[in-house]
Symmetry: C2
Subunit: 586 residues, 2 copies
């Protein structure tokens, strides 16, 4: 360590919000260069290399071949697939000295598709799966959490190419299996959840989530085996109810009830149900006004009706309206749409011709409904008159929507769509993503091959990503204590950390003997040979660095003994110097 490049820090970095960020910086694994952009110091690079090795081995076992694309790519292919625009501010864009547009690639679907188009032309060349381990760029609005969400990050991204859907299924399964092996080897728990394909297009899509309360993704799962992230969860809609016998809606005064709670309280106090059952939020229809920004920059105001006991889920509503951006409507939106009576909005009004929301209505404002609002259900909702609500408004009779959207939040107890029972909610961090792109990119970029009958067939593709640097951070996040990091042996920067303590030359001589015996046994050793440091400082550094096995050469060397120190358990065991290598390779 006297000539190794390492400096441990006593203070936590000021900008570190999460444990992995704090410890990786303090222990000298990474160092910040700019927001969300880090340099890798020798210890960090070693851990990263070990993770990459596991991934490479499993990719090879899955029959995938490694390639490497540039980070700097020309605009044109991303223009064809519209991602030059869709990525918005998250894309780093630049131009060269001749004014040609380039980007720093956030993912490489286009480049891989074009490479295969460039070189392959026959079904005989397929199936093919190729991958790279490469540094990617995404200009996150709030880079934070250290490596968990950086602006530069290392990913393994693989792409499969098949002629048939069955071929794609097989390629997909091979990568999915490889991911299971990779996470098992890295000791990372995971749940495979159904996912929305999002901006990537395509059909089948699954995420590998590491379950953790501090995860930024929410997912749901049922005891019967269903698992999905909230974006991909689909609501089980009840059956429609016959409404021919239902009474007409009644408009009632509801002063000072701009919120669901005030409305329910007033309803129970002033307009109790004949059968005595209390009104609840679930009996109300909440109409939320949203503003969509479409890709062409145009702004559209829409209203979404959901049961009053639910909230709009930002991630779900974004998926529902993708690729448009979604935000709450502003005062300006309301000001230019006087038909919307804030706090008392509803799809129907007694003053006009009835329907006041929907593309065909008097306002022309598009109206979408939660899947639970099926025909024949009765609702208390705004009457589009100040301080008035309407009771017994019947879906399908008094109002209709332009469509249904999955915008309401998922709650524990909601039924899983596959009938496997109620779901529970949990949090996780995404560590991998496999999905079937299908023919979207191949179609856009013209990747066709001659099939067995000599006809041109569009290739079907899969895309498979693992965040290398994110995985490193998650492992650090999982394996630590108040003293520092505790690496699993499979990814530790060194196998063993040998400390020579005290001022006695004998301890250093013994330590060197141990180092030599360990290296002869094929182990990677970090040797703390720093002179003039107290044992306490060396112990503290060893605990911070987190190499799982530590050997302490101290006073005992006079009797030919050193101590084995297990970083995880804290246990210290005396061992004869001559037996250290055997003890650590056993």
């Amino acid at each position: 360590m006297t000539n190794f490049f390492l400096r441990t820090l006593r203070e936590d970095p000021a900008d570190a919000e999460v444990t992995s960020h704090r410890l990786l910086v303090r222990a000298g694994y990474i160092r910040r260069q700019a927001p969300g952009i880090f340099a890798w110091l020798p210890l960090g690079l070693r851990v990263k290399g070990k993770i990459e090795r596991v991934i490479r081995e499993e990719m090879e076992r899955a029959g995938a071949h490694e390639v490497h694309f540039p980070a700097l790519l020309p605009r044109e292919p991303y223009e064809v697939t519209n991602r030059w625009t869709e990525y918005g501010d998250a894309l780093f864009r630049l131009h060269d000295r001749k004014g040609a547009d380039y980007l720093l690639a956030p993912t490489h679907e286009e480049a891989f598709t074009l490479l295969v188009k460039d070189l392959y032309s026959s079904y005989k060349d397929l199936p093919l799966t190729i991958y790279q381990i490469q540094d990617k760029y995404r200009d996150e609005a709030r880079p934070r959490a250290g490596l968990l969400r950086g602006r530069e990050f290392t990913m393994k991204d693989a792409y499969s190419f098949d002629v048939s859907d069955a071929g794609l299924d097989a390629s997909y399964q091979a990568q999915r299996d490889a991911y299971e092996r990779i996470f098992a080897r890295l000791g990372l728990d995971y749940v495979i959840v159904q996912a929305d394909a999002g901006a990537m297009g395509g059909s089948k899509s699954e995420e590998f989530l590491h379950p953790t309360p501090v995860g930024e993704d929410t997912f749901v799962r049922s005891a019967g085996g269903y698992a999905a992230n909230v974006e991909a969860f689909t609501t089980v809609a009840p059956s429609p109810v016959p409404f021919d016998e239902l009474p007409e809606p009644v408009v009632l005064d509801s002063p000072n009830t701009p919120t669901i709670q005030t409305l329910v309280d007033l309803a129970n106090a002033e307009y109790p149900r004949p059968d005595g059952r209390a009104w609840t939020a679930a009996d109300t229809l909440k109409n939320v006004v949203l503003a969509l920004t479409h890709l062409d920059g145009s702004r559209e105001v829409v209203v979404v009706g959901i049961p009053g006991d639910r909230e709009i889920d930002q991630k779900r509503v974004e998926v529902a309206f993708a690729p448009a951006e979604v935000e709450a409507a502003t005062e300006a939106d309301f000001a230019t749409r006087p038909g919307l009576v804030k706090g008392y909005i509803g799809p129907w009004s007694p003053t006009g011709d009835g329907a006041v929301l929907g593309a065909e209505s008097s306002t022309g404002i598009p109206y979408f409904l939660d899947p639970r609002v099926v025909d024949g259900t009765e609702w208390i909702t705004g009457a589009n008159l100040d301080q008035k609500h309407v009771f017994g408004l019947v879906a399908g009779r008094d109002f209709v929507a332009d469509g249904t959207v999955e915008a309401a939040n998922v709650r524990a107890g909601d039924p899983a769509p596959d009938g496997s029972g109620p779901v529970e909610l949990a949090r996780g961090m995404e560590i991998g993503h496999v999905f079937q792109l299908g023919r979207k990119y191949a179609e856009a970029l013209g990747l066709k091959v001659l099939d067995e009958n000599g006809k041109l067939a569009t290739v079907t593709m899969g895309s498979y990503g693992i965040g290398v640097t994110r995985i490193l951070a998650i492992i650090a996040e999982l394996h630590n204590d108040d003293k520092g990091l505790i690496w699993p042996a499979s990814v530790a920067p060194f196998d063993v950390h040998v400390l020579a303590t005290g001022k006695d030359q004998a301890a250093f001589d013994a330590a060197e003997q141990v180092v030599a015996s360990l290296e002869a046994a094929g182990l990677d050793v970090l040797y703390d040979d720093r002179p003039k440091l107290s044992p306490g400082v060396k112990f503290a550094d060893a605990e911070l660095l987190g190499i799982p096995k530590i050997v302490i050469a101290g006073r005992g060397v006079a009797e030919g003994v050193v101590e084995l120190w297990d970083r995880a358990t804290g246990e210290r065991t005396p061992v004869a110097i001559s037996e250290v290598a055997d003890a650590l390779t056993a």
Copy 2:
């Protein structure tokens, strides 16, 4: 090979100017993504990995520790060292969503300096040498020659940090020695030449040039051991000559002599020397008008006087006036400076007060002289009058300069500055560069450590670069024939290429047996198991790919025999299947 990602091409790529580019694309090692930007296919990536492994091993042996910096770096440090501006159009610049300026780093001096400043504070932490193998960016005006001059390229760049000059010398020598080992292991001839430090600043600077007639760098060397690139060559100036006895200059008519040759011809015809010796171009003083563009954008016109038998060397003159850019003066420059009589320019004129060039002269135009134009030398040169020259104009008496510049070309036979005899000229390609930055970057960025006396001392640095992708291209450039590539074993993508030929299953069975035995012997094997291809196609592909050892399983397998085919010599030798592994590992 049936499921390997490879496609050989029959046609040369249209844009390939050099052999390595042509063959690496045709043989499926690399593929163009944009001008000067390539994707690495599996074969290419394997060769690159082998070169990187050699470099890593030798860096480790030299005590250097590996780190990794981002390609995307913030502007500020490069602003402090002025390189944000100095790099001009060669720098890829961009900004993030918040408008902060970034660059794609062409070299990392600033980042390394700041990292060490960030973490280290004492002389006890030094010496330190750290390196990375990383993808760099330079927006070349004319990216060409494939990997030899790309806009994205992989480099190993190392930086050393020392307190003392002696320490820097030792760190420098360790890297220099490592470079010699690296090039020896890669089988690359090299010449170590003195180099100009150029835009990097600093003092001692040496380049490793691979000598080749197609190299883009010119260097000189003497039989006595001197070697330098032309930019670094320094002229041996003759001693001054007493001029008290010399006659006055004479202005003579010289109609239609705007060039040196017409002038010499006229002089010999009309004004022969009294002693009968012919006038030669070396007796004339050629005054070249140059326009400098300074970093602040200002344009300055200067005149450089060189012996008429020499030319301005663009690279040397650029170094001489760096960091200004140098170009020939334009018609507009002449138009605004009527004192310069085109074709008849000289530093002196009979019509004025004598001196017409130089900062102090009547024109105020700066005037620089070649080091050979020492005091007392006599020249024929322009008289600043149309169709007139002056004979016997004496340097130091009739004209003086504002300084000397090394702007004239170097010629075979010029004396080496170290007295080791006349030099010869040769061409080479730069494959490595070691140089002492000194304290320039540490000074600019404030990298100081406490020295042994507890006082702050500015650190002194060295910078050491090897172009990984360029080396790969040079190896390809060196090792090929009209059939394709011929890799040296140390960097070949596979150790052995096994071909199963014919339609007979027995040949494929035998080939698989050979593959298994070779892999059991620890060799990397590429197996051409493609069915339904003629032997000729497989042979041609094997020759194009250039794996040095080839095994052909064909008709002979009935007798238990295959052929060993040496790609370099073309020799084919029959060997028993059971003995192939032994033959290839011997």
